[in-house]
Symmetry: C2
Subunit: 337 residues, 2 copies
DNA sequence: TTGTAAGCGTTATCAC
DNA sequence: GTGATAACGCTTACAA
């Protein structure tokens, strides 16, 4: 069933049906009613492909996610869920594209096949080939995270460097002298994953400024790695009294390791970092930490993208969020030796 | 740039370019080479909407997920990631549709707008209006989970009833006499969510068969609820020595509650249930539990759907998986009083 | 207020 | 082996 069928049954032309549907031209009340009755009766909906072809837009967004092999973290998950929801609020559908490197069929299909009106990309590297690729096409896009030289692109991100700097200052204020940053996995760091690299920079900068002895360790995104990582720190650097972490997935392992070592937080050891609030509250004791406002970022990304699609000539915009650190109870003064 | 432009530059007709691309008709080697050169040079790719309109298929699948408001569980997340990956293996894109009840714009848009060639739906209720809706349309679909009367539909599911029955028998074999099932949230049970309802049935059936005193409690999908839930069980039914659970999200809270109550697992208390393997192994001690093989299910669902799309007249197929219970170390003999 | 008709970019059926 | 050309179902000037 198509628009012609509706037109025939309502005794009008196809264009009238189209206009009745879109409201782009006034239609007599009686005619509109007749048309709507027929539409309701037959449960008609315009064919999306035909409409996209005629209009030159698909009413669809692409969301580029990391490949399934790399298990999604909670934060990433929140991005996906919220992007979908925010897009739905604009009556936009979301096409998922798992993509890692630049040779990616799904990504290419979407980008050059005019399958979508715009793209949201997450897990951005400092030097990301996909960003380069999208810049060549004239497909509007917004990134969650930002490349090293964002130039005229549109993006939203959290200021990891500032956040981690603040964590270090907080620990320094509590008289800690030896601190460690538990980073994301070595592969991510090697690939130039923004948050991992920027956290390191902020950590070292603040530590130097406060004259702390500071070390950075990479840790795979899983509990077992967190446990091993902490035990290694205890073995190699027994003088360390506090850690900063941006590795959510390692947290349960960290918790277990602390327990196993007989350390009481924050009496014997302090922990802080960038951690989703629900995880931070789940920790025992609740973690003093900054939360990545994933929902806000995702919503913002969609809004920016919609804006950019509506006005391709608009000046580039971005947002660097700087969430507060919630003082809970996982940090305390450096323990007396 | 379109196929006409390619044809012009290659000095052939549009149809020849189309055939060179699809291979549905032989093209002279020299001609094909010329065409491919032009295509490569210009980075041409057929417009997806136009192709969909002409071919009558979109090369896209829809994945209907629970609305974002209800946070996705790990298992659901695995479904999403694997479906996307499996679809990509077939060169199919995936459109995400968050949908709860039946009044859903996104769902309707996708179903009646011919936006996709088929639908995969998860989080199925025993009496699910969306299944009814899809049956009316002649849109191929496969569900992860199954309605009470699946009739001629296509689905994959895990046999929750059998799994939970087996857990109960296992506990009975260990001489436990008083057991509790920690179910999913009360809302899910009330809504008729398959796994929640079928688990209850299997639990009660097996308990009755073995003459156990058995109770079922609902528990919201979050750690705090798990903690509260367990403390309530201890307070109201101190005689209980073992629980079966299908509520992954509540697990950390359960763990904490056990610890707080000074109970050592499995010496003082036994736990088992249906839990993703990586969570089961993360528990302390590792949980004796059956794992929902989310990846296998998702992959199977995609394969079935592809098959159904290719042959709409094919006989309905389904798969009721029955994963083994991994004996780890969270269950033991009933403690002496 | 409504109808006619020309696209939109493909695919596929005829011809040659 | 290749080229016209008619669909596919819709939107949108342009007429009336």
């Amino acid at each position: 069933m198509n628009i012609g069928e509706i037109a025939r049954r309502a005794g009008v032309s196809r264009s009238t049906v189209s206009y009745a549907l879109s409201g782009k031209r006034p239609v007599a009340a009686a005619t509109a009613r007749r048309i709507n009755e027929v539409i309701a009766e037959l449960g008609y909906r315009p064919n999306a492909s035909a409409r996209a072809l005629a209009e030159g837009r698909t009413r669809t967004l692409a969301l580029v996610i990391p490949p399934a092999s790399r298990r999604l973290t909670n934060v990433q998950l929140d991005f996906v869920a919220t992007v979908v929801e925010a897009a739905a609020a604009h009556d936009l559908d979301v096409l998922l594209s798992p993509s890692g490197g630049d040779h990616d069929r799904s990504f290419e299909r979407i980008v050059t096949g005019r399958r979508v009106d715009g793209v949201i990309m997450m897990e951005i590297l400092l030097d990301d080939p996909r960003v380069t690729r999208l810049r060549q096409n004239e497909l509007p896009f917004v990134t969650i995270g930002h490349v090293e030289h964002p130039g005229g692109s549109w993006w939203v991100d959290v200021d990891y460097a500032a956040l981690v700097r603040r964590c270090v200052h907080h620990l320094a204020d509590l008289a800690h002298r030896h601190v460690v940053l538990i980073n994301r996995s070595a592969e991510l760091v090697a690939a130039g994953y923004g948050p991992a690299v920027r956290s390191t920079a902020g950590f070292q900068e603040a530590a130097e400024q406060r004259g702390l002895s500071a070390h950075v360790v990479c840790c795979a995104d899983e509990p077992a790695a967190g446990l091993a990582c902490f035990e290694q720190i205890r073995a190699r650097r027994p003088e360390v009294t506090a850690v900063v972490t941006i590795n959510e997935a390692a947290l349960p392992g960290l918790q277990r390791a602390l327990h196993r070592a007989g350390l009481v937080v924050p009496r014997d050891f302090s922990i802080t970092g960038v951690i989703a609030d629900r995880l931070a509250e789940d920790f025992h004791p609740p973690l003093t930490a900054a939360d990545v406002p994933a929902e806000e970022m995702a919503r913002l990304a969609v809004d920016l993208l919609v804006e950019r699609i509506a006005d391709p000539a608009a000046d580039p915009r971005h947002a660097l969020l700087d969430p507060v650190i919630s003082l809970r109870s996982s940090t305390g003064a450096r323990p007396a030796r």
